[in-house]
């Protein structure tokens, strides 16, 4: 599929070269192809490409797409979509693309974006423009509970991980996963979610807060 690529800094979704990005055609402001903005500054550069394109895709971090498009009356939505490849901490990005839409997003733009990512071998999950999208919103409260219950001595870390692996068919237990991929990242993600939702379930667990403080201490 034809699309234009615009790079605006380091990308969390595409930290390494990827066949999808390599297949991009050079940016041409007059074109109507899909435009993909990647990088940590992608959102802030959105006004560089606004126009009659099939779809304009902006890489997101923890923020909502509405920050870059503006919102009003829950009627926002156009040909602009947000996206992020899901990734836990320092792990490699997964093959999942969370595709972020707004209430008024055009079905054609959603279809075009879905087709682009699927043609590159990604699985696409469409969701509304809400903090945490799908996975972080669902997994982070559960990770918090695991960390809290570990502190409370519900079971050993190995038994908790083993239980969740065997009982639910998870490839890896949550404690192993979080510690391997960087527990301090869990703090950052939950802190951002907590600011939006304000419910205890999203408040960073003590172990994550400690990991974060320790990381800051080590980095300074």
């Amino acid at each position: 599929m034809q699309f234009n690529l615009l790079n605006y800094g380091n990308s969390r979704s595409f930290p390494e070269p990827h066949p999808l990005l390599d297949s991009a055609t050079p940016f041409d402001a007059s074109q109507r192809d899909i435009a993909v903005l990647v990088g940590e500054n992608a959102g802030s550069q959105l006004d560089q490409v606004v126009g009659e394109r099939r779809a304009i895709l902006v890489e997101l971090y923890t923020e909502c797409l509405g920050v870059w498009t503006g919102e009003s009356r829950a009627e926002e939505g156009s040909n602009v979509l947000g996206f992020a490849r899901f990734r836990v901490g320092d792990d490699d990005p997964s093959d999942l693309v969370e595709l972020v839409r707004q209430p008024g997003t055009s079905p054609e733009a959603i279809a075009a974006a879905t087709q682009l990512f699927e043609s590159a071998g990604f699985t696409v999950a469409v969701c509304m423009d809400q903090a945490g999208r799908i996975i972080d919103r669902l997994m982070r409260p559960y990770f918090n509970e695991v960390l809290t219950r570990l502190d409370q001595g519900l079971a050993t870390a190995s038994d908790m991980d083993l239980t969740l692996k065997l009982g639910l068919g998870y490839p890896e237990g949550p404690i192993g996963l979080l510690e391997r991929s960087g527990l301090h990242h869990h703090y950052d993600v939950t802190q951002a979610l907590f600011e939006v939702y304000g419910t205890p379930a999203f408040a960073p667990a003590r172990r994550a807060a400690v990991a974060k403080q320790r990381k800051d201490f080590e980095d300074n």
């Binding site: 699985t123 999950a125 050993t156 908790m160 639910l168």
Partner: protein, 291 residues
Amino acid sequence: MTEIKTVAVAGAGTMGAGIAIVAARAGFDTIVFDVSDDNLEQSRVQTEKFFARSVERGKLDPQDVDQILARFTRTSDLKDLASADIVIEAVFEELSVKQDLFGRLNDICSASTIFASNTSTISITEIAAGSGRDPQVVGMHFCLPAQLMKLVEMSPGMNTDPAMFTKAWEFCEALGQIPVKTQDSPGFILNYFLVPYNNDVIRLIEAGVAAPADIDAAIKTGMGYKMGPCELLDLIGLDTQVLLCDAFYRVTHDPRATVPPLLRRMVAAGRLGRKSGRGFFEYEGGAMFGA
């Protein structure tokens, strides 16, 4: 190593039938008890079907199956449990029913018999309190379907004798299962995390954030899980999820454990999951359809 030779399973429902299969397959004489003769008969038929399939799949020889099936006895007379070295109860999830059962078994079984409960949500200490032998009561929570899932969450009650817990643990290993130790607290490990998480999934759908198919695709691809949460909820049964929530909320008062309104509506509408042919997805003859 275990000294246990004879296992009694009380309650021949979904879980009891599976646990009895595990026990007989591991070489134990297995007494299956239920108050309902129909349920006993149904569990016999299911058990024979299960082992017939094991033969078809080449997992067991027909002679092995004959031996395994010969280890079963079935009864609706509680006195027949007198010879059991351990009783695993998988009766209705009601404290009074479980207490009453263990209380009566206390007079029937030998003084050394261990009582194990497969409860999902009730405190082991509370169940033990009605048994007349609380040092010998342990939690042994198998997973559905017990005949296929290796995990058993084991928990001692407040008054459980550590030596008895060790005996039960060794027995669990002799069953060929994998025990993990957890505190006697609501939902142990698995359900404690799963019930509120599943509710969060339902609330995400209710809030219109994502469709069930998108949620399942996200979790499976993003987290590498074998099953998506909506598929899992359909398998557990949405009515069962309501019961679990109610049981949990009563003890934990965790807001995430409250029944999401969408869940109640789906149950009222008869969308119970796989068993009714429709939950978050539609099913026909075991196959899943559409979104």
